[in-house]
Amino acid sequence: MNIIDITEDNVEEFVPLIGEDLAEDLERLYFHGIGAVNDQDEAIGALVYELLSSEGGDVKSFIRLQKSDSRETEDELQKHYKRDAVDNDEIEESYYEVLDEEIADSCEAVGFSKEKKESIFLRATLADILKTKFAQKSNVPKYIKCLGELSILEYRSAVKDMLFRGQKGIAEDLAYLPMTWYDKDVSVCSTSDAGVDGLFLIRCMPSGILMPVFYYAYGPYYVKNLAYMLIKSIAQAAQKYPPETPIVICRSKQASRDMAAKIMPGAKGEEVFYGSRKEEC
């Protein structure tokens, strides 16, 4: 068995293990993958993690996926993660959430805590969203526009503005993501003569899942504009996608937690196994 880094060149072989969404995410700056291959160079295990910065400036690693054919492979992947990844990326804390208790047990064996917790991912379908109060409204001002109505320069300028306000949604690499990365019809923005003052960016994943990535507005009427953006986006999604389209909200940041509470008040995520470990780098 060999442990290798998952890169653009070999990611195709790991797609059956990690799925097409994570495979595409691995092209992004803060996503990293470690893979295990057997002697025939067949993928037998993978560990994908995302680097996140906390408000205090610490680097955290969110292990997005661990999958392998055996406990031995899993241990190898964890060993490699601990030895190389943690040191190279100066990770100060690692955490995971998984459905499979066996994986949680193997993580516990290498120093992670283990507890049952509500998942940070909130899953719903477009049909669920269409039942909310925001879907019942349709009147939005003309200054609420689809992302596709912005020029690339306007988009970059808006992203810069948000970043300099310390806002990056759930994407650490927001600065590097192109406009085409988002669904230009369902993503919306709020505009004024001073520029873009609100963005609601939604990504359509290769698997067809819609995932809100950024939701923020500023200015004196930001509360209204946030609601308008939501209304417009839901209306646009209803036109473009079938009701069974899955929607996943990652509640890793306060802004996305607020958004989830707004769209689906009281909705709960799945119960998962969660664990964290302080790293010494």
């Binding site: 910065s53 205090g56 400036g57 610490d58 200054y143 970059r156 300028s157 992203v159 810069k160 503005d161 970043l163 300099f164 306000r165 310390g166 990056k168 650490e172 690499d173 927001l174 600065a175 590097y176 004024s192 003569d193 001073a194 003052d197 500023y218 200015g219 004196p220 009427y221 930001y222």
Partner: protein, 357 residues
């Protein structure tokens, strides 16, 4: 002719005339130095003109000694009501001024202008309507009605001022901006004079607004000390000012971008390019004749990288598209390290800062 006490009239006129003269002088001076393209200047001029009109109306009102009481003549009554309305309009203008000064957006003003102006419009129509309805019939009713309308207009004025304070607070919370705008320069005299007004028979209101606007003008003029007029950015003096503030922990600096231009003559043109690329929350300073530094509050390197890349691309595009002499820019950026204090960071990014200060 004056109807009332001559001393009281003297006090009122004695307060109004010098105020009007000072306001006219400020207006003349401001018109001489302002740059015409700036919308905030137009709003400041509108504030000054409204105040001068307020002085004139107040003066004429004192002359006729109309105190919203039981006069049966249309003109003095309307003049008294107009005096109240124009004070409310001034406060609405103040709210617009604050909004524009903070957000630089006309849309934010126009989107809610009608809603904000509605109380003034309704109260104006009500006061005219009440006069026409009761005229010659029951002058006492007109007087009572006028007092109610006046109180409502005072309430409207205070509401505008409270909204302006809320807006500033909201802006600071959203952006963390620490720049010069001192709303208290205006508010303190206005509040003090409003309290005085309540306990006095004299109209000091206009004087309070005038003192507020004059102090605001002084603060705007003082800001000019820190301006570099070639680029429109701040100057090296400002760098010293904020590095002192940062040392005391009163100015959050998270990162700095440096732009070094190889042709000093192109600094003005470069400043236009840079202005388009940096968000308003950043502060650009012309530190040396051919060097501009930009301070940011955030310490995340990715947006700084994004800006420096965009600036280089824009300069490249300019060099390709124009026949003018090309110029090159060297860019760099630094962010505050996790365990570094702002003080240490300032010392690291501005070598020799102590000597300069």
């Amino acid at each position: 002719m004056f109807g009332g006490d001559l001393i009281s009239f003297g006090i009122d006129i004695g307060a109004i005339v010098p105020v009007a003269i000072v306001l006219i002088l400020i207006l003349l001076h401001f018109n001489r130095v302002k740059s015409k393209e700036n919308k905030i200047n137009s709003l400041f001029v509108a504030l000054l003109v409204t105040l001068i009109v307020m002085c004139v109306v107040d003066g004429v009102e004192r002359l006729l000694n109309t105190d919203l009481s039981f006069e049966n003549e249309l003109f003095p009554y309307l003049l008294a009501v107009f005096s109240q309305i124009i004070q409310s309009a001034f406060c609405l203008l103040w709210l617009m001024f604050v909004s524009y000064r903070l957000y630089h957006s006309r849309d934010y003003i126009t989107r809610r202008l009608f809603i904000y102006a509605l109380p003034i419009i309704v109260l104006t129509l009500m006061s005219i309507g009440s006069y026409l309805f009761y005229r010659g019939d029951n002058s006492e009713s007109v007087g009572i009605f006028a007092v109610i309308i006046t109180l409502l207009l005072v309430l409207v004025r205070f509401t505008y001022i409270i909204i302006s304070v809320i807006r500033l607070h909201q802006y600071k919370k959203q952006s963390g901006d620490m720049r010069f705008f001192r709303i208290s320069y205006f508010l303190i005299p206005v509040i003090v004079v409003s309290i005085l007004d309540m306990f006095s028979r004299h109209a000091f209101g206009v004087a309070g607004y005038a003192v507020g606007v004059s102090l605001l003008y002084i603060s705007i003029a003082l800001e000019g000390r820190y301006k570099d007029y070639t680029t429109g950015f701040y100057n090296e003096k400002y760098m010293r000012f904020i590095s002192k503030l940062a040392q005391k922990g009163k100015y959050p600096i998270g990162g700095v971008m440096t732009f070094d231009i190889d042709d000093e003559k192109a600094i003005r043109e470069f400043s236009w390019i840079l202005r388009k690329q940096i968000p308003r929350s950043c502060e650009a300073i012309r530190y040396k004749p051919n060097e501009i530094v930009v301070f940011t509050r955030i310490c995340d390197p990715s947006p700084l990288h994004m800006v420096t890349e965009d600036v280089l691309m824009a300069v490249d595009e300019r060099n390709q598209k124009t026949d003018k002499t090309p110029f090159n820019v060297k860019t760099s950026y630094k962010v505050k390290k996790k365990k570094e204090t702002v003080q240490e960071f300032v010392d690291r990014i501005i070598p020799g800062r102590e000597k300069q200060a």
